[in-house]
């Protein structure tokens, strides 16, 4: 029997995204990219975005990481596709509040849609970095900062 806290963290959806991540490839049409790095565990992620008139037309990622970071990147790619840069930033702020336990359960969790499956991270402070690495990297790509983002 899996511990409920552990089951909450490793929900089936997360395991699925870990196994078969969406948009897990190099985007040939990308006009912005960034690399993210977590020095604590050596995880690396590359984000590719195709931005047109402030809209994320397409997004993809590559790299290695734990199930939490991979699922988070995969879910993120599906969520921000088609959104404006401003919207993407707002979603990340909400999402960050969610995984750090700053969000009231019922307040606007709906807005986060499928990202809500990562709510279990809030019980694991050490893993917040895993869940947010892809996001920080994406925001850096959107700013067109051509540098490595680290979680430290």
């Amino acid at each position: 029997m899996l511990d409920p806290e552990l089951r909450e963290l490793y929900q089936q959806v997360i395991l699925d995204h870990n196994k078969s991540p969406r948009n897990f490839k190099k985007l040939e049409t990308a006009n912005r990219t960034a690399e993210g790095y977590n020095p604590l565990c050596g995880d690396k992620i590359n984000i590719f975005v195709d931005v047109e008139k402030d809209i994320v037309k397409d997004i993809s990622f590559q790299g290695s990481g734990c199930a939490i970071s991979k699922a988070s990147a995969s879910l993120m790619s599906t969520v921000v596709k088609g959104k404006s840069i401003e919207e993407a930033k707002k979603i990340f702020e909400k999402f960050h509040d969610l995984i750090t336990g700053k969000l009231d359960e019922d307040e606007s969790i709906e807005e986060l849609g499928k990202l809500a499956v990562l709510a279990g991270v809030k019980e694991f402070p050490i893993r917040v970095k895993c869940a947010s690495l892809a996001w920080h990297t994406m925001l850096s790509a959107l700013k067109n900062e051509d540098k490595t983002v680290t979680t430290e």
């Binding site: 899996l2 511990d3 806290e5 552990l6 963290l9 490793y10 395991l15 870990n18 196994k19 604590l40 565990c41 050596g42 995880d43 690396k44 290695s64 990481g65 734990c66 199930a67 939490i68 991979k70 694991f124 893993r127 895993c130």
Partner: protein, 420 residues
């Protein structure tokens, strides 16, 4: 198929009562989320026996004072206890004299001491320092600082896929520019026991001094510096069942005499005027400021503890654990062991293609199993294997066959969840 090696289990029980030894370690009785603690992160740090805890307590309740300075009674008692600890260290590694034992904060500080003192006064532009591909960051970064400052070069001994130094390539790296060879005795990530005797012999043929990073050695195998004939040897107390914040640099006396001090301050001087300072004799020249007195005395107590159990017996016990754990972990589908050297100490790193070490670490934590996941401060080694991280189980003198079973069963349950 579970291959239980019954004879091995019995052998261990006959010669070495691990269950009795466990009684000495209060922390091993605690529960983690209602599961017994299964502590398999001994390469990071070891737990402390009651004997060491009592020593620390006794020091602070009945001896505490500053050493080498006061004329009062307590200062004398503390000084004697501190110097007695130095002699325990000397005997433990069979140094010639207590003058060759310098107390530091740990392996890292010991290596930095050599880099700053010996290194800065001996290494010039164009010179070379040799290290290996499996070094801990603490045996890489100080040499990078030195090489950058002196425009010297760092040369890396390559390793093969099993995690062994490629000896011929090592020999090829040696030249008249080589000023020091600094290698890890036992790798904290792979468990490889390096052929340090042969390395030292080859170095000495060319008059090159050798530093051994013995952080993972003194706790696992008998170390005899006179037999090894190394110039320097560094280790940490906290990996030897002693307190944190205390470590040792061993160095041959004739070399220490030629080395300038590392830090300046109290205790390391014999006379100070504003114009000039003359330095204290060895080993005090290298112990500036108030030392970790309690730590040194605690380390002495840890050495007493390890010696009373017998380092040979501990080594045998851990070899049995390693053998059993290797056999059992190989049962796990998809598990790949990183580090298959012929000579190995009780450390097993493993990976899966599709499950990240951090996920394994989190799951095992819920079973009460403490392992380390990550790069283990050996990032260049991880790059050599083209991986970001491993899961690492590392055993100590109090671990049991049953704990190996808990580890393996827990890992199997992670696989079930991830491969479902």
């Amino acid at each position: 198929m579970i291959v239980k090696q019954e004879p091995t289990v019995k052998e261990i029980k006959n010669t070495y009562d691990v269950y009795k030894i466990r009684e000495d370690f209060p922390i091993l009785k605690i529960k983690i989320r209602n599961k017994p603690l299964c502590y398999l992160d001994n390469a990071a740090t070891t737990q402390k026996p009651q004997q060491v805890l009592d020593t620390l307590n006794k020091y602070y309740t009945s001896m505490n004072s500053n050493i080498h300075r006061g004329v009062h009674y307590l200062s004398g008692v503390a000084t004697d206890a501190y110097e007695e600890a130095r002699i325990k260290v000397k005997n433990f590694i069979n140094a010639k004299s207590g003058k060759e034992i310098i107390f530091t904060r740990g392996t890292t500080e010991s290596i930095n001491l050599v880099a700053n003192s010996f290194g800065r006064s001996n290494v010039k532009e164009g010179d070379e320092i040799i290290i290996s591909n499996m070094e801990h960051h603490s045996n890489i970064v100080p040499w990078q600082f030195l090489c950058n400052e002196k425009k010297a070069k760092l040369k890396i001994i390559p390793i093969d896929d099993n995690g062994e130094i490629i000896f011929d390539e090592f020999l090829n790296l040696i030249s008249d520019k080589t000023k020091l060879i600094s290698v890890v005795y036992v790798s904290n990530s792979l468990g490889t026991v390096n052929p340090v005797k042969e390395i030292i012999e080859a170095a000495h043929k060319n008059n090159i001094p050798v530093l051994l990073d013995a952080a993972q050695s003194v706790n696992h195998l008998p170390v005899n510096v006179q037999k090894l004939d190394c110039e320097f040897l560094a280790f940490s107390g906290h990996k030897l069942y002693g307190p944190t914040g205390i470590g040792v640099l061993y160095a041959k006396e004739e070399i220490l005499k030629t080395m300038p001090p590392f830090m300046g301050g109290g205790d390391m001087i014999s006379k100070v005027t504003f114009e000039e300072t003359t330095f204290n004799e060895l080993p005090f020249k290298f112990e500036a400021g108030t030392s970790n007195i309690a730590g040194a005395i605690g380390l002495g107590s840890a050495i007493d503890y390890v010696t009373s159990k017998g380092i040979d017996k501990i080594a045998n016990h851990e070899a049995d654990l390693l053998e059993y754990a290797t056999v059992r972990l190989k049962e796990v589908p998809g598990l790949k062991i990183i580090g298959n050297a012929r000579q190995k100490s009780a450390v097993i790193s493993f990976i899966f293609d599709n499950i990240h070490p951090h996920d394994i670490g989190t799951f095992l934590d819920y079973e009460g199993v403490a392992i380390r996941t990550g790069h283990h401060c050996t990032q260049p080694l991880m790059q050599r294997y083209n991986i970001a991280a491993t899961s690492r189980a590392s055993f100590g003198l109090y671990n049991t066959i049953e704990e190996v079973d808990i580890l393996v069963d827990s890992v199997k349950r992670v696989i079930e969840v991830f491969n479902a």
